[in-house]
Structure formats: structure tokens, C-alpha cells
Amino acid sequence: MRVGAHTRLRRGGLALALVAVVYLIAASQVTNSYYQLILSLVPIWALFGVSWNLLSGYGGQLSFGHASFFGIGAYTVTLALVYLDLTPWLGIPLGALVGAAAGIVIGIPTFRLRGHYFALAMLAYPLAILYVLQYLGFQEVSFPMHREHPLYYLEFSDQRLYTLLAVILLAAGLVVSMLVENSRFGLALMAIRQNELAAEAGGIDSWRWKMRVLVMSGAIAATAGGLYACVLLVLTPDSVFGILVSAQPVVVTLFGGVASIWGPVIGAAILVPLAESLNAELGNIIPGIQGVVYGAAIILIMLASPDGLFWTVRDRWFRRALPEPAPVLPATTPVRQVVQHGHGGTELLRVEGLSRSFGGLRAVSEVSFSVAEGEILGIIGPNGAGKTTLFNVLNGVLSADEGVAALDGQSMLGRKVHQVCRMGVGRTFQVVRSFPRLPLLDNVIVGAYGAGLPDHAAVEAAVGALARVGLHRQAGSAAGQLTNKQLRLMELARALAGRPRLLLLDETLAGLGREECDEVLDVLQRLREDGMTIAIIEHTMHAMMRIADRFVVLDHGRVLASGLPRDVVEDRAVIEAYLGSKWLARQNA
């Protein structure tokens, strides 16, 4: 569980119980059967919204085709009842299982895609299924009536019982959603949404988490679909696989508040009755007017509250009432893990003949060097020398064409980004990759989770890492509010939280003023004293002269020189690469 999870869960559970009871009491007083139907539909669409919210809201994997799962649930329940005489009491759980399986089948190929491509590929699935079902002759399937055992077949004569069942299932869905949000699962998803590469470099296996959330989301959507079929009693492919069905969870969630527990519920509670009553009141007078009003309503709300109602209301009225609980951190410096200190210790990283080309350009060409335990290696070179590409190859963002890279004898090549991280390689980026909406502490905990630490140890490691870089006072503030220097240090802390053996720092000093630069250098100095091994990319010579034990100079992808700082700085080839041959000639003249 995340920091402060217990308070949030208790508060959420209480609110949930209260809302459910009030809703059920209100629903039990309604006698008009049409309004009763609307009251059953609200929790069903809300549940569908909850399922979409997990995948697309928290995880950021935008799905335009969630009707696949909804429809699969609906058809599983109906076909099992028609052909196998299976009661929907078992049919709905069966549908959820099939929905989860569909999540696996759809996820394996589709998660190879990102961004727009993922969203569009998802759009294609329900439509393909729709046409296949039409072809197979399932245009219209109706529920067979069972007059002898109505209860056994989930056939209630009183519509309000469907509402009760729908509310129970929705409550279950919301509890799942709360548990996800407050666990490392939710943190991993939010990290992936905000910055997938940073999450991976922090050791998070994004593919696995995305798969898990898709399976969970598929099961929940199928549950909603199964119940929907029971309420409607007649099923057509368009009513459960159609493009408007896919739009429904997107609309209710975005309207209510994306990536919030209550968003889908708020959206469904307002939009479903609005759409249905418009349909009933105006649909007969001017067909189509209900669609126009509904469309205008969602546009207006979206312009007024772009993040959804929940966030707008919270930001306007509850910002002060509900601060993120600031965790209490020890202000003392952590116990130093004293490792044998000294240069020229045992070799930790060995790189030999490493190459990587992009088409005809050899960005990294037969690079060899090594890093000894406890030393700081400075990797310098002009722009375009291949420094960042070298790091990308080392930590698995790019594959190597040839060569060897081994950490303590174990090869780092051919592994995924998060696997390299788990070997004990921490990484920071040239452009800071933070999770802007998460508090600083959570930003750093991502790194600790990535290393596979259990909850308690992860919080401890993150707190310790923050203290080591001197950011423990800002632990509660959102990463979006930090200064550039603080963000650099935060990224360093995130890498440290995974208890790495080797840190790869990519231009950690970029964009910092002189004094800020010195502060970061001091932090690095302290880390070295604690026994950390660091390889750092940097442009600025003077900063590197202060901390690096040895230099490797890259130019045009090749190692130009390596050795002690003083020797390298006087190397004619290095001076030429940095300052040009003319300068060198003038110096000699």
C-alpha cells in the first residue's frame, strides 16, 4: 500500500457505503418502471466507466474500443443461457472470465503499439467482432423466459432488484479501483501514463502492468455487459459492440473526472438519466433532438471543466480541505553504507567493442572502457558524439549491433530496460522525466518499487534517497512544482531508491546555474564517498574536472581518449575535437 493509503481507503469506503445506501433507498421509492430502468442503467454504465478508467484513465492506454469486452460479456451470458441453459448467476462470472481472457488475447499483439496506434487498433476489435456476429446469424438474440424458476435464472419481476444487483457489482468495482489506486499497481500505472520510459528505467515492467490492468479492465467491462444483457433481455451486436457503446465509458469517465475513483460514477449519474429522459421526453416530438442536446451538453461541460467534474470541483472547493498527507520524514542523514572506498577497485562495468548504427550512421562505434567500483567516470565529448546513445544501449532502450557490456561479469545486452535496472543500474535522463502530478515521494518510490522492494522497505528506501540528495523537505509537493535543480536531484533520488550499484547520469548538470551546479556536484561527491559507482555524461569541462576520477572522451561515436583528467585535457586530439584544429594551430604558432 502507498503512503497514506489506509486513511484514503477508509474515507473512500465510508463514502461508498453512504452513496450506495442513499441510492438504493431512493431507488426503492421509484414506482415508474421506466425510471426504474434508468436507475438500473446508471450503475451498469458507471461500472463500464470504472473499467475504462483503470486502463485508460490511470494507465493512460487510451482505448476507443472498450465495447469489445462489454459485448463479449453480454454475448457470453446470453449464448450460455440460450444454448447451455446456464443461469446468468454463473453466466456473468463466466463472462468476466472470458472478458479477462479476451484482455490477454487482445493485449499480447496490441501492446506492441503505443499512443495513437494503440487507441485505433482497439477501435477495430469490437467492429470486427460485430460484423462476424452478424455473419454468424446472431443479429438478434432474446432471453428465453423461465416462468418456473425466475430467481434461479436471474429474472426479476421487480426492476428494482436489478438495480440492487447493479449497485452491488458497481461497489465491488469501485473497491477494486480504490485498492488499485492505493497500491503499487496504481502507482506503476500512473508512472507509465505520465512517462513510460522513465517508469521502465525505474525498473517497472510496463508491459506486465499494462497486461494486468487490461485483463482486470476486460473482466469488469464484461461483468457490466453481462448484467446489461440481463436487464435488456434482447441483444443485438450494435447494442453492445457498436461504436457508441465504446464511446459511452469514455464519455462518462471524462465527463465525471478521469483517473479518479468517483469520476465514472459522477458522469454516469448525470449523463445516463439526461440522455434517457431526453430520449423519452423529446424523442417522439422531434427525432434526433435528444442527440443534439446531449452532444451540446458534453461539449459545454468539457469546455467548462476540461479534466472532468470531479477535478474541477475538488480544485475549486476542496483544495485546502484535502491536502496530500505530508509524510513525516526523518530529517537526519541516513546511515551510510560504508563500502570499501578507493579508486582502482574491482572492475564493475566492462564495455568492449560496443557498436550501434542508425542506418548508415554509426552513432556508437567499437567503444571500449571500464568503470571500477567506487569511481566516477566522466564521459565527455562534443554534441552528437554518441554519449546518450551509448547510455541508451547500456540500459536497454536501444539494442546493440555488436560488442560486450557486462555489469560485474553479467551481460547487460539483450535485456529490457526494466531488467537492466533490476541488475542494479540506475539511470537519469538528459531531459528530466518526472511524473508531474505525483508527489515527490511517490516519484521516488516508483524507483524503489521498480527494484522489487516490499511496501515498507520501498518507502524507507525512498525517504533515505531523498535525504541523500537533500530533498526530504519537499517530499509532499507535486513534482510539477519543483525547480529544475530539484527535479535533477529528484531523478537522482529515484535512481538511488532502487539501490543501484551503478548510476548512469545523463547531463545531470544541464541548464543549471553555477551555484546550483556546485550543489549537485556536492551531492555526487557525497555519493562517491558512500561508495557509489557513477558514470556521468557532461559537456562542461570544469565541472567534470572537479569530480571525475577518469575521463572517456567520445567523438563521432568513437573513443578518442581515456585516462586521468589531467592527461586527457592535454591530449591534442581532444582539444581538436572540442575547439577545432584552427584553435590548436593558433596555440602552437
Binding site: 485505433l120 487498433a121 470486427a128 471524462l254 434526433g288 452532444g295 461539449i299
Partner: protein, 318 residues
């Protein structure tokens, strides 16, 4: 005998695939500008197609201003005139709605404003569909031209096998190709086209270069709307349509754009052509209900195997 029938069917499917494919290609260019280049998720693109059809219908039939052109020229001129009309509508949409959830305002934000675009364009789509139902009625319409029931005959090629080229489609196809080439030349070689591409590529940098990015976006969006509307007007000459026809084509458009590789106008055209071709040729082996499913399967396969599109280049850098 059987071979003759087979050859005739195959050749006719190929011919239909190419002519319809070219019109699809034009339709996809419209979305290619909006989604492929400007990266705006537009769910209302199908409704713009629908508007193009009705604009052409009301221009050239009954008491329309272009009715004097007669049933031979009228429908095609009407299709071209639908372009500017929907262009103006698109500019207004962008000015008042789309610009609030796209462009500089959302560049670099979480999810690049896609969530907002989804909702806004879904809302626009609902309003246009149902508003269309109120204004135009639900009776299927068509821009009738006698050319739709006449065909050029090629052959007999093998035995009695003959290729029939529907005249309405053939002319529509020619108009589509000319429109597409004109647009390509405008985007590639004029000052306007260059500023549009620059604004789409990097809005911040374009601002520094003195390009009015907001205006460039508005023109590009409106152009995307207008182009798809022209394609709609052309399709109206050979197919009957209602206010909800957009839903059938929005997926085809997205398939075409992704197939061709996002960010490329020519690619979008080729993508649309491929989709039309696959759709028509699948009629040879698949029952009618599965033809659209075939498009999606091909679409999924290509997205999986070549996510940069058939004709695109991968531009991603870690």
C-alpha cells in the same frame, strides 16, 4: 466458361477497387491532415463526409443554385463546391471548439489534450448526426446522375469476359485524383502549405519563425474538413446515404490514415486506396457481411507488423 466468369469477376473487382479506392484516398487525405499531421483525434470526420454529401445534394438537385448544370456536370461540380462550404464550417468549428483542446494550448500537456478532443469531437459528431436527422430527414438520398447506370466496356478481354467501368465512379475517381494532386502541390510548394507543415511539425518553433500558428491550424483543420467533404460529394453520385452514414466511414478513414503512415499526405491517399481495394476485392471471396471485417483484420495486421504504416518512415527516437 467458369474461367471466363472468374476472370471477369476478378477484373471487375480490381477496376472497382481502384476507382473507389481513389475516392477513399481523397477522403483519407482529409483526415490525414487533421489526425495524421495535426494529431487531433477527430471523431466527427465521418459527419463531415455526410455534410459534403448533403451540401452537394442541395446544391445540384431540386431548386439548388447549381441545378442548371444538369445531371451530367452538376453532381461533380456540386461535389467540388461542397468543399468550400464545409471548409467554412470547419474553420468555425476550429475557431470556437477545437482550438480550445488542441494546438499550442495543449502541446506538451499530459495526453496532449486527446481526452478533451475525444469528448468535443464526439459531441460534434452527435450534434451533426442528429441535427442532420432533423434537417434532412431519415429517407435515404442520392445525387442522381444518369452516368451512374452507364459504363464503359473494356473487352471482351478473354472469351466473353468484359470489364465494366461505371461512368459516374470513373469521373468521380478522376476528380478525386485531380483534387488530391492539387492539394499536394499546394501543401508542398506554396508559402501557405509550408507554414501549415511547419506549424504542425513544431508549433513552438513555428511561432518563433513568425508563423501565426493558430491561423495555420485553423486553415489546416478546415482544409481537412473540406477535402473529406469533396470526397463525400463524389461518393454521393453512386451511393445512397442518410444522416448516419458517417459512422460507416470513420473507421475506414482511420484505417487508411494509419495504413499510409501518419503525417504524410501521399501516404494517406495510398492508405485509402489500399482500403478501398481490399474492400472491393474481398467481395470476391467473402460474404458481404464479412467485407468490413476483412478491412479491420488487414488494418490490425498492418498496424501490428508495420506500425509506421505501409508508406511511412519510422521517425521515433528514444
Amino acid at each position: 466458361m467458369d474461367l471466363e466468369v472468374l476472370i471477369e469477376n476478378v477484373l471487375n473487382a480490381l477496376a472497382a477497387g481502384i476507382t473507389i479506392g481513389c475516392i477513399y484516398g481523397l477522403m483519407c487525405i482529409g483526415l490525414g491532415l487533421i489526425f495524421g499531421i495535426m494529431r487531433i483525434v477527430n471523431f466527427a470526420q465521418g459527419e463531415l463526409l455526410m455534410l459534403g454529401m448533403y451540401a452537394s445534394l442541395y446544391l445540384v438537385t431540386g431548386g439548388g443554385v447549381l441545378a442548371f448544370l444538369g445531371p451530367y456536370f452538376g453532381p461533380f461540380v456540386g461535389a467540388l463546391c461542397a468543399g468550400p462550404i464545409v471548409f467554412a464550417g470547419g474553420a468555425l468549428l476550429h475557431r470556437f471548439l477545437i482550438s480550445r483542446v488542441s494546438g499550442l494550448r495543449t502541446a506538451g500537456s499530459l495526453d496532449d489534450g486527446h481526452f478533451g478532443q475525444l469528448i468535443i469531437t464526439l459531441g460534434i459528431s452527435l450534434i451533426l448526426q442528429n441535427g442532420g436527422l432533423i434537417l434532412f430527414g431519415s429517407t435515404p438520398e442520392a445525387v442522381r446522375t444518369p452516368l451512374a447506370s452507364r459504363a464503359f466496356e473494356l473487352g471482351p478481354i478473354y472469351g466473353d469476359a468484359t470489364v465494366f467501368l461505371n461512368k459516374a465512379r470513373l469521373i468521380a475517381c478522376a476528380v478525386a485524383i485531380v483534387t488530391a494532386i492539387t492539394l499536394y502541390l499546394v501543401l508542398e510548394y506554396t508559402r501557405l502549405g509550408k507554414s501549415l507543415r511547419a506549424a504542425a511539425d513544431n508549433p513552438t518553433a513555428a511561432t518563433y519563425m513568425g508563423i501565426d500558428v493558430d491561423r495555420a491550424y485553423r486553415i489546416a483543420f478546415a482544409l481537412g474538413c473540406g477535402i473529406t467533404a469533396v470526397a463525400g460529394g463524389l461518393m454521393a453520385t453512386y451511393l445512397s446515404f442518410g444522416p448516419f452514414i458517417g459512422l460507416d466511414y470513420v473507421i475506414i478513414m482511420y484505417s487508411g490514415v494509419v495504413l499510409g503512415g501518419m503525417g504524410s499526405i501521399l501516404g494517406a491517399f495510398w492508405g485509402g486506396l489500399t482500403v478501398g481495394f481490399v474492400q472491393q476485392c474481398s467481395a470476391l471471396v467473402l460474404p458481404p457481411q464479412l467485407q468490413n471485417a476483412a478491412i479491420f483484420v488487414v488494418f490490425l495486421l498492418i498496424v501490428m507488423l508495420r506500425p509506421q504504416g505501409l508508406f511511412g518512415r519510422s521517425a521515433e527516437r528514444a
